[in-house]
């Protein structure tokens, strides 16, 4: 057994990538069959999306409010307070909305997905399905992946809108920026390209987080400890990859 450990982390890392890649391929194939069961996918959209709503809305509100305060503080030094609207909008749409929502999603929905699947594995439910000639990929894994994929852009959009309201609340309500200026400046500064960037990011982050969550649940050790470790890995991996893809996509959209 000492040979196995000695083989070294790099090889294990490469192997892990390979396993994930194969899993992704099987998952995508299973998505077709999963869509034939809309009930399951809807249940998973609820699981990943609707149940994350409160945390996303709260976080969006506070983020927007902080943007209002921060913007006012910083922009004032240049006499550009009236640029608050466009600053908040661009920051939210392009970066804060997708990234923060993705990180929160990985923490709340990602861990839920991983532990659900891991628990099913540990209690032989996945095996039982296989023996009953039902493919767990299309019954369990694919609906959860699709649920996360669909829920993410919606969550990001809600985060963005609530964030703008938060910035408006602070900027206009508290700090006295003119309401019309706030929104009109924003409208002239934001282009479709920026909105598209946010949407593309949200879809990519959603796919990454959901894939990792489902994969970790599927591959984990079928014990209580194994499920716990897998859950942690989901959050870490999804968060890091989100930030990595954020860099890539930001560069692409420049």
């Amino acid at each position: 057994m000492s040979n196995g450990v000695r083989r070294g982390l790099p090889l294990e890392g490469v192997r892990k990538f390979g396993v994930t890649g194969i899993f992704l391929a099987r998952l995508l194939l299973a998505c077709g069959r999963a869509l034939a069961r809309p009930r399951l996918v809807i249940a998973q959209i609820y699981n990943a999306g609707a149940r994350s709503l409160i945390i996303i809305m709260l976080s969006g509100l506070f983020t927007g409010m902080v943007l209002g305060l921060l913007g006012q503080d910083v922009l004032q030094r240049f006499g550009a307070e009236t640029a608050l609207g466009q600053m908040a909008a661009l920051a939210l749409l392009k970066e804060l909305g997708p990234v923060l929502t993705a990180l929160l999603f990985a923490g709340r929905a990602g861990t839920a997905l991983t532990s659900e699947i891991g628990l099913m594995k540990a209690t032989d439910q996945l095996t039982a399905m296989e023996v009953m000639a039902v493919d767990p990929m299309s019954y369990v894994a694919a609906p959860r992946f699709l649920g996360g994929l669909i829920a993410m852009p919606l969550l990001v959009a809600i985060f963005d809108v609530i964030g703008l309201l938060g910035a408006h609340l602070i900027g206009v309500g508290l700090l006295g920026v003119d309401r019309g200026t706030f929104w009109s400046q924003m409208q002239s500064a934001v282009g479709m390209r920026d909105v598209t960037e946010g949407i593309v990011k949200s879809v990519v982050f959603g796919a990454v987080a959901s894939l990792i969550a489902v994969n970790e649940g599927y591959q984990c050790e079928p014990t209580a400890e194994g499920v716990g470790l897998a859950t942690t890995r989901t959050v870490v991996a999804a968060s890091v990859l989100t930030l990595l893809f954020d860099y890539v996509l930001t560069a692409v959209f420049l």
Binding site: A128, V131, M132
Partner: protein, 279 residues
Amino acid sequence: MLQDAPSASADDADAVVEVRDAHYGIDGREIFSGLNIRVRRGLITAVMGPSGTGKTTLLRLITGQLFASSGQVLVFGRDIASLSGSEIYAARKRMGMLFQNGALLTDIDVFDNVAFPVREHTDLPESVIRKLVLTKLEAVGLRGAAGLMPAELSGGMARRVALARAIVMDPEVLLYDEPFVGLDPISLGMILRLIKHMNQALGITSIVVSHDVQELATIADQSYLLSGGTVVASGTPQELARSDSETVHQFMTGSAEGPVKFHYPAPDYAGQLLGADEG
């Protein structure tokens, strides 16, 4: 109950499941080195052995979830390793499996659990499904529990629901993975009677994997004892109880005497105790 009506002829070609000289290993460890088993139609076949001999692995080989590295595993007359994916699924639909802890789907209730295979594999209308599910639940005595969630069931009840689910598609073969583990005497009696009932009333070939020697002896027609990766004894429970082999005898009686030792291999006792004093 002594079963001697269908004579145990070695030439009897009525083998639903047959394992011929199967080898299987994982991570360099050999689990099976030449396994031979014949499961005859309509009988209850027991597979016994100490923990870790791979009894559950055997069931996985039969369902096609694992494949032997050499040898053959014939199910319904065909080597399962040679079947395509859909053919394996077709074979699995003719089998039912009862897991050690029931393995019910935890997010749906008892009724939906039993109905699950039917809804997945057939287009029967809900009214028919309802009658079917209630009938099966009645057979295991849990028709009144149809609305409960799996988390609300005791271990014995969960296993009975799982049994109802395993028979809902009228399989030809039932595989039982350690069905007696952790049950109180009353539930144990219920499971035993149900296994016997499934076999006699419905003619289902049953393969029971367990190490509960006493319980199995009351219902099995044919027994296999596994140890060290092969079959070390086979026959009716009574034949095994009378066996001369030390291994068989120790297992069947649970005696301290025999090949399986109490002490894990360790260096000399006195030497180790005294040696520790000398820093």
